[in-house]
């Protein structure tokens, strides 16, 4: 059975960090220092390519990549 989007995103974030990480779906990835600058952009690339969504810098500004939950809402087309 293929991984859920949530699991794929979790796994990619761990892969980016290069070490085992413990974080929840609602944890702020940037504030916790888990994903910053280039790695954040790699995460945006990954989400755009894997889930076929178009992301802009404004989406980052509006916190749509701030946490796993926010990314899942973004993929689902939730405008919040």
């Amino acid at each position: 059975m293929p991984d859920s989007p949530r699991d794929q995103i979790h796994r990619f974030i761990v892969e980016l960090a290069g070490e085992e990480l413990s974080f929840g779906d609602d944890d702020n990835l940037v504030e916790r220092g888990l994903v910053q600058s280039i790695r954040l952009l790699e995460l945006v690339d990954f989400v755009a390519d894997r889930f076929g969504v178009e992301a802009t810098a404004d989406d980052i500004y509006r916190g749509r990549f701030a946490s796993v939950s926010a990314i899942l809402r973004f993929i689902a087309g939730d405008p919040a």
């Binding site: 600058s37 280039i38 952009l41 404004d58 980052i60 500004y61």
Partner: protein, 416 residues
């Protein structure tokens, strides 16, 4: 919200006095804007606003802040107040107009550059006039940040018109429009809008703590710097042929001295905004703990860095997604070019007249290369086999920051 105590008011008064005092070395870098006769009025105004605001109904908080800001401007100069209000109105009209984004950005840049260069020319040709000094300082050091932060916030919501009163307060809230430290504490516009109506309960306490800490640090720095002026000791040592003897002081020179010279006033300014209900964090995140140049750049002057990253770095890198390394170098160059070279150009013209600042250009080139290399390695997911001891990594970062800045200074001397 907890009521403001007499302690808060005393701290606020002390803060304004400290920031406005010539003794704080920060103000030797930037124009001294506050005329001594104006300072007591600003102190009184800040204290009155801080005391009245917690008791004001939510609907009255914004009008009260507008009145306090206008009164502070008028106490400085009616002409200054008129120019500032006209400036805010023009900026609002541009940001929420139907113009293309590039045209808006160009106009905003012209708004900032024109009065600053005018002030620079005035400075070069005549005596220091407080009005011109205030205009120059206010436009280049305050509006530069806030205008572009407002533009970024408006762009993110597709330029939906925001209340003009919020934009006025964001750009010109007393007291910070005339108090211009080097590193400003700039809130995000959306957080600013929420907090001026309903400040988070912990904000007042945090404001008082930051003011107290800032006053202590600024005072301590002033005393230590007078007794042991590291940069001057190093220069004198070099001139007297004792370069090797004073070399270890290099670690204290730029990184440590620079951080402590700006952190006090920056904390005071953050606290002053917080006690007025503005939700903003200090613009530093313990930069002296940085373990790499990239880390330093992330922790030092964080608000400005975040704004530049939002405005230039992310858009460029996302637009050139298929050419990531070219994107990294272009985006890093854009950030340093806009954030430092162009940003400091009017300030340099203000002090020395219109000519190139070679030292700053060299410094920016060095940091562009250092940060570009670091980001390229990060993108390649390069992980060194060896790991430096944390203390060694911190000291190495201080050395690199020092070398970057001082090499720029030397180039500036040689080419001036």
């Amino acid at each position: 919200m907890r009521p403001i105590t007499a302690l808060h008011v005393v701290l606020a008064l002390a803060a304004v006095a400290v920031v406005g005092t010539q003794g704080v070395p920060l103000l030797t870098w930037t124009p001294q804007l506050i005329a001594p006769a104006t300072l007591p009025w600003l102190c009184l105004l800040l204290a009155a606003a801080a005391l009245a605001l917690p008791h004001a109904p939510e609907a009255l908080r914004r009008p009260l802040l507008v009145l306090a800001s206008l009164a502070a401007m008028l106490s400085f100069s009616p002409l200054f107040a008129a120019i500032a209000v006209a400036f805010v109105a023009a900026a609002y009209a541009v940001i929420f107009s139907r113009l293309p984004n590039a045209a808006k950005l160009a106009l905003l840049a012209a708004f900032i550059a024109a009065p600053m260069f005018a002030a620079g020319l005035h400075r070069a040709d005549g005596p220091r006039d407080p009005l011109w000094l205030a205009l120059g300082g206010m436009f280049v050091l305050n509006f530069t940040f806030r205008l572009f932060a407002l533009y970024q916030a408006a762009k993110a919501v597709k330029f939906q018109r925001q209340p003009v009163i919020d934009c006025f307060l964001y750009l010109a809230l007393a007291p910070y429009f005339v108090i211009v430290p080097y590193m400003l504490a700039i809130p995000r516009f959306d957080r600013f809008q929420r907090s001026i109506v309903r400040p988070p309960p912990a904000l007042l306490e945090s404001g008082a703590r930051n003011i107290a800490a800032g006053v202590c640090i600024a005072t301590a720095y002033t005393i230590v710097d007078a007794a042991f002026p590291v940069p001057q000791i190093m220069i004198r040592g070099g001139l007297e042929g004792r370069a090797l003897e004073v070399m270890p002081l290099a670690l204290l020179d730029y990184p440590v001295w620079a951080v402590f010279s700006v952190i006090g006033p920056a904390l005071v300014l953050t606290g002053m905004q917080q006690i007025l209900g503005v939700d903003v964090a200090p613009p530093f995140d313990r930069p002296l703990r940085s373990r790499s140049v990239l880390d330093w750049w992330r922790r030092y002057n964080t608000h400005f860095r975040e704004l530049l990253v939002d405005l230039f770095f992310y858009p460029i890198v996302l637009r050139l997604r298929r050419r990531p390394y070219l994107a990294i170098w272009l985006a890093t160059t854009a950030v340093f070019m806009v954030g430092s070279t162009l940003f400091h150009l009017p300030k340099f013209a203000f002090k020395h007249g219109l000519r190139p600042d070679w030292g700053l250009m060299a410094e920016n080139l060095i940091f562009t290369v250092l940060v570009g290399v670091a980001l390229t390695l990060e993108r390649r997911r390069w992980r060194p086999r060896w790991r430096l001891h944390p203390v060694a990594a911190i000291l190495l970062t201080w050395v690199l920051v020092y070398l970057g800045v001082r090499t720029g200074t030397v180039v500036g001397w040689l080419l001036s």
